[in-house]
């Protein structure tokens, strides 16, 4: 996918101008956290579960060579072809080769962020294949020629009205009103059902790979992924090498975290495990099945200080709880993965040069780390990336100078306290009457959106010291 992360600030300003979309983002940012809280309420051991799954993930990543090997061996034994790809180009070529070997013309595709990452759709389309996304959200944005704005709910930036107009103009089904959301869903169902029945190849992602038995786990509510996995002649499961878990029950333990964190449900409608091609006793199912496992810098991440990021289960909770994401939306981040997880993954999977604005899209409020079911210290990783940005001189010179000055001052507490006391006192004197400032030198970015309250006169340290002194005096009196 084409990347526009380097213009994050401009993208964000642009996004803020779209009032309708901003309103919808506000609604999501209000409801998604409530649904998550309701889903984990009463599950007293949720945090114990989170720690258990984290230990299992860490164990699996510590022994990734072993578990990936075990998975491959089991998957081959189950009758699959297993392919590995170092990067997006290799990945896309493997998938295209499979399609071409079967003279496929139509591909039905389930939701997969990995294939967004490699730009698989456009690659296959350039080779003449008709590729149809079948997850309703993905289908909508594919029709609209857009990219996902959220990793779980890719089309939430669009209104029902926009989707209605889109369907009316792109589905050749004559005059119709489609007044309600159910009508829109029904129409998409009809159009996609036909495609499912005609497609020669189905492509799905995987939420986990199970090393002990070679099954892959697929979690959906719509059931579209299952149709992709069961109706076409050929099935290709596309995922990354880090998704392997040791045992089948590890996958369903992770599921307990994933579903509650993603949609606020206790269970999705369809949780399916697929092992390979049609067996002798089967009356349906694909006759040939493939796994394509992508590295694309995962092994680099595994070998870095950011390895915890590989434990991400793509639930989207950090997006739903992030004040920046809910203000500017997913497209502003300029690549596949938005929000806090995206601000870490994008620099790691592309380059910090192209995306160093993203780790700065953080208020350090810590909500993402609090809700992350994989217990990833997201704000710490973002800070480490900012640190790297600074030491590799990627940020603007004046920023680095400012940080340097601040760092120096912070290491000289006496001077720091003196200078802040002078500044606060001055602001107090001049702002006393109005109570706030509508503009300030060197802080115009801040004051352009809000007023700066005039300080009360004393800094925190001054008040703290005065209090200590008072307490000491009282103690002496006693």
């Amino acid at each position: 996918m084409e990347q526009r992360s380097d213009t994050f600030l401009d993208n964000a300003s642009e996004a803020l101008k779209n009032v309708e979309q901003a309103k919808r983002r506000d609604i999501i940012a209000t409801f998604a956290p409530l649904m998550r809280s309701a889903a984990i309420e009463g599950f007293d051991e949720f945090d114990t579960l989170r720690q258990h799954v984290k230990r299992v993930r860490e164990h699996a990543l510590d022994h990734l060579e072993y578990y990936l090997g075990q998975f491959e061996q089991q998957a081959v034994q189950n009758g699959n072809h297993v392919h590995f790809a170092r990067n997006s180009d290799e990945f896309n070529s493997v998938v295209l080769d499979i399609c071409q070997q079967h003279d496929a013309r139509r591909v039905a595709k389930g939701k997969s962020m990995v294939t967004e990452e490699t730009g698989l759709n456009s690659f296959l389309q350039r080779a003449g294949l008709e590729v149809m996304e079948t997850d309703l959200g993905e289908y909508i944005i594919q029709r609209a020629g857009e990219t996902p704005s959220h990793i779980v709910a890719p089309a939430l930036h669009k209104s029902a009205g926009e989707i209605r107009a889109l369907f009316q103009s792109t589905h050749d089904l004559g005059a119709r009103d489609l007044p309600e959301t159910v009508d829109l869903v029904a129409e998409a169902r009809e159009v996609l059902r036909e495609h499912f029945l005609k497609a020669e190849v189905g492509i799905i992602g995987a939420n986990a790979l199970v090393a002990e038995n070679g099954y892959s786990m697929l979690v959906t509510n719509e059931g579209n992924g299952d149709l992709c996995a069961n109706l076409p002649r050929v099935l290709i499961v596309c995922t990354t090498i880090d998704r392997v878990l040791p045992l089948a029950q590890d996958a369903t333990a992770m599921l307990r975290l994933l579903v509650r964190s993603a949609t606020g449900q206790a269970q999705t409608c369809y949780t399916s495990f697929y092992s390979g091609p049609r067996r002798d006793s089967d009356v349906d199912g694909p006759i040939e099945t493939h796994f394509v496992l992508l590295d694309n810098k995962r092994s680099d991440i595994l070998d870095s200080d950011y390895r915890e990021m590989l434990e991400c289960i793509r639930c989207g909770a950090c997006l739903n709880h992030c004040p920046i994401y809910s203000s500017v939306g997913g497209h502003a981040y300029g690549w596949v993965y938005p929000g806090p997880m995206g601000s870490i993954l994008t620099p790691l999977l592309t380059s910090l040069e192209q995306s160093h604005a993203l780790p700065n899209a953080c208020t350090s409020c810590g909500r993402c780390a609090e809700v992350c079911p994989a217990d990833i210290p997201l704000p710490d990783l973002l800070r480490d990336l900012r640190h790297e940005e600074n030491s590799r001189k990627l940020s603007a010179g004046r920023w680095r100078l400012g940080i340097k000055l601040h760092g120096w001052l912070a290491r000289h507490p006496k001077l720091y306290q003196l200078s802040t006391a002078i500044a606060i006192h001055t602001l107090h004197l001049f702002g006393r009457k109005r109570g706030s400032y509508s503009s300030l030198p060197m802080a115009s970015g801040w004051t352009s959106q809000r007023d700066f309250p005039a300080p009360q006169g004393k800094t925190f340290m001054q008040q703290y010291k005065a209090r200590l002194k008072r307490l000491a005096e009282q103690r002496n009196e006693h």
Partner: protein, 232 residues
Amino acid sequence: MSTSARSEIFARLREISRKASAERIHQDRQALGSAPVPTPPAAEMCEAFLANVLKNQGSVDCVANRTEAVAAIGHYIYSHFRSHRLVAGNDPRLAAMPWRDAGVLPRFGRLEVGEPVALSFAQLGVVETGAVLTWTGKSNPAANNLLPEHHMVLVDTADLVPDMEHAWGRIKQELESNGRPRGINFIAGPSSTADIEGQLVYGAHGPRKWHVILMGKIPAEALSRARAIAAP
């Protein structure tokens, strides 16, 4: 596939991965134990299962035996489709049901496009999630779960397991004795989507309705209690 991609990835992982014998790795995983399970909504298994099925937007019937089961199935099909026809997988347990008593006309096999309702006999019902489990094979073609407008599932109370860990225990017995089925499907509700403005709609791609018939020894009050638990 380029074999060099495979060998390069594995070589890299070998460098990074911790060195240990397979036996040691398995011991380490065992030592991590198993995951905590959420508390069920009721202590009694049938009641808890029914409550979770209802929460998953399923509809339910409770029956004591096979005669009552076919009657309930016949009633459901007739009230929704004014028909006595139904498609069911080639499951010997289903073949042995007294269909004629209820005037139901089952066809055993794979659902064809246009047939509106299919019946599956679940291998298990999972109390924790209110899910039913089927696996693909002669007795349950995948199309029967996915393509009908209404999917009916019969669950024997003897096949209820408390949680996913117990479900895997039972599935592993099957894998060992009969090999690995192509697909293992946990189904917990009608197909749904909230992709348009977050509004929940049923029948996204798969069944619009999901009807569970629990059969066996069920405490008298189980269903009414389950309804009270599931009520919003």
